[in-house]
Symmetry: C2
């Protein structure tokens, strides 16, 4: 799409093309960046400039605007820090790089984050690691943004992870996009059986070309986590919006709670496992965690993909449940309201979910309820309608996050279809996903 005729004329006169550097002065403010193509549905009278921060800005054209061409090399990439993967006496870890912002490069010509780095390049962006650990293996089974992950990728990562963990490394770090990082951490928590070494999942909320890049510190803290005595899958990311320390949060009790903040990953219904400073100082906040031990990790990756997560809310469509039944789904996790309710009666009769839930149960589908509140515990014994669900055989997922209940049900159904076994497994904490006693402080950490 082109800019307006007026803007187009001026750009041509100044010999500025898309991808060139431009300095635009408007209302006394100077903006320097690369000229971006117009967004198709956007206003054709707004110039789009990619600032050096990585952000795009739209500037409404006015005749008083000053537009100058800049040398493009003013915006070239930063020099790469020197880093060699030479042999070292430092503790060995392995890296599995799967993609995401932590492994991303801004494409200054096209604008936007697009390209993904090789694992070697990722390490080069993190000079902090040189004095902490050395790498045994740098692996990359695929490079995708995390919104494109699916259970197939979880299985691939788990298989590779188990293999690496059974070598002579201290622990394993996995770099990953942040959008679905908490789904993968939950999946690995269930899939890596007999875990005897720490596994850290690390992402970045800001790309490596920005001053506020968080991936390097997250990676340094992750490296320190891998040297600890824990043997849990944890997400290691900024704990605060400063560069002071990270949290290692158990893989089944963590959720991305903010679109853009560096401290977006928060524990839900749990304390963080540990507080880790980039200088290596590590304070465990939980007393009970799985400890490092001898043994062999098993990748137990069987997963039933015909499991869905659906939200019940006022005016929600119960026909979606029928659709899943007809599509031969084996499990449905409902994000129920609060303690675990669904619409069971409304003046608009079409809205009740009761007939569909009954049908699903009758057809042998496992139905589990988690709370859309996210924090707190479900309880089928307070209200009569929830008791009815419970009597039908609906599994109330305690204080499990809906996302974790979904991942867990897929994993459990990959192993057994026997109703009572499924219930028992769902209500047994296999990887810390059920916190038997929530404390006052485990809310909104």
């Amino acid at each position: 799409m082109a800019y307006s005729k007026e803007i187009d004329g001026i750009l041509k006169a100044k010999r500025i093309s898309v991808g060139d550097g431009a300095r635009i002065t408007t209302s006394g403010v100077v903006y320097e960046g690369l000229l971006m193509p117009r967004i198709e549905v956007g206003d054709d009278n707004v110039l789009i400039l990619k600032l050096q921060s990585g952000y795009n800005i739209g500037l409404e054209y006015s005749s008083s605007m000053q537009i100058e061409k800049m040398e493009a090399n003013a915006f070239s990439e930063k020099p790469t820090p020197r880093y060699s993967l030479k042999k070292s006496s430092l503790p060995k870890i392995s890296l599995i790089a799967t993609g995401g912002t932590i492994a991303s490069k801004i494409d200054y010509r096209l604008g936007g984050v697009k390209s993904l780095l090789e694992p070697q390049e990722i390490c080069q962006a993190m000079p902090e690691l040189v004095n902490v650990i050395s790498f045994k293996s740098l692996l990359s089974p695929f490079k995708i943004f995390s919104e494109n992950m699916s259970p197939v990728e979880w299985q691939k990562i788990a298989a590779l992870a188990a293999k690496e963990l059974n070598s002579d490394i201290k622990g394993l770090v996995i770099t990953h996009g942040t959008d679905t990082l908490h789904f993968t951490s939950a999946a690995l928590s269930f899939m890596l059986k007999n875990l005897c070494k720490p596994v850290a999942l690390v992402g970045a909320q800001r790309s490596p070309d920005r001053g506020s890049f968080d991936g390097a510190m997250n990676m340094a803290c992750a490296a320190h986590y891998l040297l600890s005595d824990a043997a849990e899958v944890a997400i290691v990311m900024h704990a605060t919006s400063s560069d002071d320390y990270c949290y290692a949060i158990r893989g089944t009790k963590v959720r991305k709670m903010h679109t853009s903040r560096r401290d977006a990953f928060r524990p839900v219904n749990d304390l963080p496992l540990a507080k880790i400073y980039s200088n290596g100082r590590t304070e465990f906040l939980k007393k009970n965690y799985r400890k490092r031990s001898a043994g062999k990790v098993v990748a137990d990756t069987a997963f039933e993909k015909k499991v869905a997560l659906l939200k019940a809310y006022p005016g929600s469509e119960p026909g979606l449940v029928d659709f899943l039944i007809d599509k031969k789904y084996k499990g449905i996790v409902v994000e129920a309201t609060a303690l675990g309710q669904i619409p069971t009666f409304t003046f608009d009769k079409k809205n009740s979910w009761l007939p569909q839930i009954k049908r699903a149960v009758e057809e042998g589908i496992i139905v589990a309820f988690a709370t859309q509140c996210l924090y707190g515990r479900t309880n089928p014994f307070v209200y009569e309608t929830a008791r009815e669900m419970y009597r039908l055989g609906v599994i109330y997922c305690e204080d499990m996050l809906p996302e974790v209940a979904y991942v867990k049900l897929g994993w459990v159904l990959g192993h057994t279809r026997k109703k009572e076994e499924v219930r028992k497994l769902m209500l047994t904490s296999l990887a810390g996903e059920i916190n038997p006693m929530l404390t006052e402080e485990e809310f909104l950490i």
Copy 2:
């Protein structure tokens, strides 16, 4: 369902039936409560006792257990405080009671919360109000638990609310179950146009028969909110887990974030409007809010019910979008990942949502993306796949909660089907639902 033969024999011998009072001593601890029927799927060797706190407890039977019958009247309801709705010179407000825990009564015979009170009874449970306000009208269009609310009920409440607000009252309080209180508060925020008086939505997380009942203090704080100079729809509930003060939170920026805590309602991407102590001290935390004025409130309740809310996640079923298209849905709000992504490519090709989103847009359905992170803002300009969605015409809902985006899209589509008008309305803050500049402190309040 019956208890085990052994328990049954003992109960018969002691002449204790379900619903009778019982004192059970086991392992040195004494439990007093009402004997409940066995839960059907539960262990038949566990006695269920409803304690006076309202909670049920399961006690595993052992032969060393002591079981005694108690007088049933030890568990009768508390005496009702005296309260008359006599004429008074105090400021007048009206009450619309819709049901929920705040209006609930424990049924000690059957166990569990079941019965719902008349508005007069609700007021009687709240003696704190006597010295603050008087009631013009006590109304109850229906009595249902809030999980059973639907847009039809929102419309009824809005119509009744507008009528009351246009009488000589200072403000209106609506009592409501907490499960979907935030959906109703969002709906009323859009439906009550030209709002010139305060509207408080109030619920309770604990039932009136419990010592920790929060409804009375919430109601007292709501009454004080109604005497303030604000003219906004707000949820007024406990701000902390103590009985110190409540928050009044804007109806479009609030969410139930905990299943059971009394301070479950939290602002998301916003500060609370005000901090209100039960003694009437009111501190406004937001500077910009809609002020009380003269004028006439209009109930603008047109609502398109064919709008759905769907979550995109790893392994999610894009066929659900096809189902909604086939069912002639007019709008779909996607709880997208983080900044506003959906699966667009996976090695398991079936998981991409791109073809379905394209189809929906082509068939004239409005597609809007909100973030499943809840906190933060969507941004289609960072990643290429989101740009593609944006170019297709997907509306990125800024920092609106998914629930609010759903309610708003239903309301907007009730008024216009013109694509550009819908987009414009969705991206204009009509009732404070878009916060143009998020601040550091508006995360996890």
